[in-house]
């Protein structure tokens, strides 16, 4: 129970990685607020939690909605210790066919959400004397992954945003780190990971010859969220079966 009495917010916690992370945090004793555009998903996540949870519908790229979300979390749980910036999206599109809408949406859902949620939450964390922010980037934030130039740009942005935040928020006793998952099978990615040809291509790049699952991310999240990593900040931990080694 390494996170007993801690309060965590997980954005995009209604499915996939966010759901797995929310469950993992709750197993370690944290109270978890699950925010998602899809309230049903968030509610399902909370219903399967081992500890107390709160499901909230929010577009976490919208500042006003994030401020309301935080208000609800504080009203219910009294504080926030951990923010997991997991909200994201990944659509494939060859570079020459990426239109302005896809570009803007991808940056918005992956990078702007991280910015808005971190800034709003950090304001509270600064008042409360400290906190812990973990951003979900991707292997695509470190290595180029055609045909996802828009996604890679956004995820790379998440990494430098996390590191710069780490430097600026260190005086306020807030640690900021990131994880960079490799290929993880979720409801959103299943259409690709279950396609035999694609799957073989993915596995060829992964030394451990395995497609990841949301549960594979949990251990690292717990390490970063707990006092075990109290000397770690501005770090990006790759969870990719060795792909980007």
């Amino acid at each position: 129970m390494r996170l007993k009495n801690k309060v965590a917010i997980v954005t995009g916690g209604g499915s996939g990685n966010g759901q797995g992370i929310a469950w993992g945090l709750s197993k370690e004793g944290a109270k978890v607020a699950v925010a998602d555009l899809n309230l049903d998903g968030a509610q399902y996540t909370v219903s399967e939690m081992e500890s107390e949870g709160l499901a909230l519908k929010a577009d976490v790229a919208e500042r006003a909605e994030v401020e309301n979300l935080l208000k609800d979390v504080l009203s219910r749980f009294g504080k926030v210790d951990i923010l997991i910036n997991n909200a994201g999206m990944a659509l494939m599109q060859p570079f020459m066919e990426v239109d302005d809408e896809l570009w803007g949406k991808t940056l918005r859902v992956n990078l702007t959400t991280t910015f808005v949620c971190s800034q709003v939450t950090a304001k509270q964390m600064i008042q409360d004397g400290g906190g812990n922010i973990i951003c979900v980037s991707s292997i695509g934030g470190i290595r180029p992954l055609p045909p996802m130039s828009h996604y890679c740009a956004a995820k790379a942005g998440v990494i430098l945003l996390a590191k710069t935040m780490a430097l600026e928020l260190a005086p306020h006793k807030i640690r900021v780190n990131a994880i960079a998952p490799g290929i993880i099978e979720t409801p959103a990615t299943r259409i690709r990971t279950q396609d035999p040809e694609r799957r073989e291509k993915y596995l060829a790049n992964v030394p451990l010859k395995k497609i990841g699952a949301p549960a594979d991310l949990v251990g690292t999240i717990i390490y970063l969220a707990s006092a075990d990593s109290e000397y770690v900040t501005g770090e990006v931990i790759r969870i990719d079966g060795g792909w980007a080694a």
């Binding site: 640690r175 251990g219 990593s229 969870i239 080694a245």
Partner: protein
């Protein structure tokens, strides 16, 4: 977290090696503690036994292939298996670039790089047979940023450790073996005490988290990489440095 596991930990006589041995033992691992420093090793052993842990102390020189093969055989003989190798033994010499002698260069490379290589080489075949294992190498922020602390030979040896990890990770992944690196920042050990107070204060002012690392900070990172929570992580470097170097 490590119940039933057998861990070989080099550099167990002091600093990070000792802290790791104690932490692993508290997590129910059996420890094979290796060091050239016999007295320090005995002290570590006393501490472990005082907390009801089990340790096989081995006084050995990791730069000697014979020594390494001998203690590997001994560990396998007594415990029947080795699940984890933590290559923590290392030396940091502060000699100025223009004054490093050939023999000093060789010595630093031997302890920091060749020693880790020999241990991995001796223990990996066993892990390959059992189709599981975890190897954790210890680099340094110096291995990434170069010349931030200690001599050039130290930085170079630690940079090479990062590459060694990547090679081993790729070679051993087919056997279900994870190989990763921990890269410490300035840590409160005897090594740090070899610098002057002014050098230490200068270092601290550059650390975002405004303190030196404790051996336990590194030990917890090594534990994370040795345990089941990092099974999908391999070939990676975990910086535990208070934010002083971000790359």
């Amino acid at each position: 977290m490590l119940t039933g596991k057998v861990a070989v930990i080099t550099g167990a006589a002091s600093g990070v090696g000792r802290a790791t041995s104690l932490l692993f033992s508290r997590n129910n691992s059996k420890v094979v503690g290796v060091d050239l420093n016999h007295r320090g090793l005995e002290e570590t052993a006393e501490l472990i036994r005082a907390q009801n842990g089990e340790i096989l102390p081995v006084t050995a020189d990791i730069t000697s292939k014979d020594d390494v093969e001998a203690f590997t055989a001994k560990a396998l003989d007594i415990y029947g298996k080795i699940d984890i190798l933590a290559n923590i033994a290392g030396i940091a010499l502060n000699t100025n670039f223009l004054e490093i002698s050939g023999s000093e260069w060789d010595k630093v490379m031997a302890v920091n790089l060749k020693g880790s290589f020999f241990c991995a080489q001796a223990i990996a075949p066993h892990m390959m047979k059992q189709k599981s294992g975890k190897i954790i190498n210890v680099a340094s922020m110096a291995g990434k940023a170069g010349a931030v602390v200690a001599g050039i030979h130290y930085s170079v040896s630690k940079g090479a450790v990062i590459t060694l990890t990547k090679c081993l990770a790729k070679k051993l992944a087919p056997y279900g073996i994870n190989v990763n690196t921990v890269a410490p920042g300035p840590t409160e050990t005897e090594m740090l005490m070899s610098f002057t107070p002014r050098e230490r204060d200068a270092m601290k002012s550059h650390i975002p988290l405004k303190r030196f690392g404790k051996p336990d900070d590194q030990a917890h990172g090594i534990l994370f990489l040795a345990g089941p929570h990092s099974d999908f992580i391999t070939g990676a470097t975990l910086d535990i440095n208070g934010g002083i170097v971000m790359d």
